[in-house]
Amino acid sequence: MNSAHLLRLLVFPGLLYAIPAAWVFLWIERKAVARMQRRIGPPFLQPFFDFMKLLGKKTPPRPGVDGALMRAWPVLAAASAAGAVGLLPVLPRAGGFAGDLVLLLTLLELPSLFLIAAGFSSRSPFGQIGSAREAALGLATSAVFVTAVLGIATAQHTFQLEALVQAPTSLLRWLGIAAILLCVPAKLHVTPFSVANAEQELYAGALTEYAGPELALWELAHGLEWVALTGLVAALAAPPVASVWAAAGWWVGISLVVVLLLSVLAAATARVTVEQAVRFYWRAAAVVAVLAVSASWLLGAGS
């Protein structure tokens, strides 16, 4: 690992940028939903207040549950989400390695797997139902998500993010971005696809038994997932520019637009059932993704 990689992981777009950005994105979502409901909404620092307050709380004992395992899941989830942000090809000539797209896809998938594991290891019936729903939703979205990313990668004959982003934008890439955008609400548990953490319906889903600093880490991991997934869309959609500042500006700007779009979706819709969500992804969203991958493969074979 050279210094450029370390800089990406720790400074921009990594931890130093990603953690404040996670809080800001969570705030924008809450504030935008509040404004659309004609409410005033939470103050700007609210996600930070929530995080710090949770750090100051004590966790009550959980008899019959493996404490070390329960403590490990949120740490792993936050770490993999932060790693995914650090891998995003934001700045021009930031470096990368062959196949880093595969690592990025894995790191984007892992927080969801850790959430499923956390729900089952909490041994709470609400946690287990939440985990089962998250698993069903994961099965539905992951196929579409990976197919869409593969479609974009096949068109450029590369699994390296840097080369992928620098390539000229085409209609095919926009098709792939559309399919990725369709998957983002389910991956971020945004209404109408908030079936896994369905609050008041499943208590708090997989996180029912979590408290204090562990819950704070889950909140942080969730915010980092927001930064990573909106950042992936932004990195693919941003026009290639030579200047470092312009590239960063485009990336942050498009990320914010995606966050606002997701907030509008959350405010405008009601929660669907698990069956409806799975049906939507396998019937509707899969069509876009398969179209993207088959078109890019056919065009690639023709050229």
Partner: protein
């Protein structure tokens, strides 16, 4: 007080998360509590959130006169709320058992089971009154946390261990 504790204490005042517990309420107070999160009252601007799990909450809001069936449940749920914590009794029922006083199926008032910090009277109380009660509970919560930062349980207190402050059913 060191800066870290001052920071956490300041954040604690701005982020009270509630858990609502129905101890046999007629649903009147429950509706008024839910009215607090609607656009007219919008408690989210104070950082207040209605949480789904008692383990996430700071303040336990109890409505209802404490029926025999719920007496054990409220103690279990109270023990699940992480310290520092506070209890708000919403409505006249948890304060005095209201019109159910003397009933053989009622084990209230609430103060026999939990150390109540704030009583919000009314049948049902207005949302404004509930918000004021929660705001007072936030003050009590912050002062309690500052007075005894993360120390082990003090005898006869009940706040740290979740045990019953007032001897339970007599």
């Amino acid at each position: 007080m060191n800066p870290w504790k001052r920071l956490v204490g300041g954040c604690r005042r701005r982020s009270p998360w509630l858990f609502h517990l129905n101890a046999g309420s007629c649903n009147g107070c429950d509706i008024e509590l839910v009215a607090c999160i609607t656009p007219r009252y919008d408690v989210e601007q104070l950082g207040i959130k209605l949480e789904a799990s008692p383990r996430h909450a700071d303040i336990l809001c109890v409505s209802g006169p404490v029926t025999r069936n719920t007496a054990q449940a409220i103690r279990t749920v109270y023990a699940q709320v992480c310290t520092p914590k506070a209890v708000v009794a919403i409505g006249s029922c948890p304060a005095s058992t209201n019109v159910f006083a003397g009933s053989p199926t009622i084990e209230g008032p609430l103060s026999r089971h939990l150390p109540v910090d704030v009583f919000v009277p009314g049948c049902p109380p207005r949302p404004d009154a509930i918000i004021e009660g929660v705001a007072r509970a936030v003050q009590i919560l912050a002062e309690r946390a500052e007075a005894r930062p993360a120390s082990p349980a003090e005898p006869g207190d009940g706040h740290e261990t979740g045990k019953i402050a007032d001897g339970g059913p007599r």
